[in-house]
Symmetry: C2
């Protein structure tokens, strides 16, 4: 947790530091991000940094927490919007909402991407924590199983993870290559359709 000296700072300065952190962690992985770079961009001295935060981890976790708050709001809106939606359309809606969010705050999305690509014990520890979206999706899958929309013989967690893996893979690739998310809603629809219906030719229908 950041020290009190940080929270006591005037809003503008806090924002400056936060912005500098986001910019750095959007460019580099945690392990490669440089405190030097952050303090330079924030316009504070190296000494001050250590007066505000214990170390890089401290700042990183704080930043993720702040970003997470915003992200959660986006995700929760989906659940509220149409409580009767099936998993597939809810998922697609969620993706689209996430894309709108990512376009508003592109750096936030990049921070998440960098984290996704990171390894290391510290990052691995972090991952398990904030899986609110994951849980929500799993519940939707299970509801759909009861409604007879999704096959009961497939593990719910596996299903969610498949979608997660696919979205992460294609979005990360696209984002890294072109720096943009255009065409992604369409791709997401294709992916959902494929996993839903399968790629095999249907014998009868």
């Amino acid at each position: 947790m950041p020290k009190n000296t940080f929270f006591n700072l005037p809003q503008a300065k806090k924002a400056r530091i936060f912005k500098a952190a986001v910019e750095e962690f959007a460019k580099k992985r945690f392990s490669e991000a440089s405190i030097n770079q952050i303090v330079k961009n924030a316009g504070i001295s190296r000494g001050s940094f250590y007066q505000y935060f214990n170390d890089k981890e401290d700042l990183y976790i704080y930043m993720l927490g702040e970003i997470g708050k915003e992200k959660l709001e986006v995700i929760k809106k989906v659940g509220i919007l149409n409580p009767e939606a099936d998993f597939f359309s809810a998922f697609l809606y969620m993706i689209k909402a996430a894309l709108v969010w990512a376009e508003t705050k592109p750096l936030y999305g990049q921070v998440a991407m960098q984290m996704e690509l990171d390894q290391g014990d510290f990052i691995e520890k972090l991952r398990g924590l904030s899986d609110e979206g994951f849980l929500l999706l799993k519940q939707l899958v299970e509801k759909d199983k009861k409604r007879g929309l999704i096959r009961e013989d497939i593990d719910s967690e596996l299903i969610v993870e498949i979608f997660y893996a696919l979205i992460t893979h294609f979005f990360t690739k696209k984002m890294y290559r072109t720096g943009q998310y255009d065409g992604m809603p369409e791709l997401a629809e294709k992916l959902v359709h494929i996993v839903k219906e399968g790629i095999a030719v249907q014998r009868q229908k």
Copy 2:
């Protein structure tokens, strides 16, 4: 390309250096791997390293090439084994062969994994190159489309990439968490089955 001084080296010394490189690049990403560490483990001086290779890239590419040779043999065996196999069983066979290979030379698999997780312009450039396995799979998909096994309306490359993404995701996760690949053949089968048949409940069949 390594310099002649390297190729002139006695076999044992070459092997020692190669082994040290594999060990380092299995532990660390390219950008984080340290030449210092490699020379230490290989028992050569720092100066010698630069007499053998131009730089880290040089060694890395050489190493990947050597590993790639072995890997390609494994993959090619699949195509030979049963030329009439459909994409799904060929893919599964390929996965299983890759797993056997990875278990024999676990570090090679880890090198590939580290590369998978890496970003950076240099690594990105490398990726496109050695996609022999990718192409082979794409051809299989297209054959199966003609045979009426796979739906024609889905892009072949997308299909291959979906499998690639899923396998990479689950295997990397598993490997990183537990250091082993046990249970992976079964998981691969599940994944193939899901993408083949879909997760939606079939209305009639």
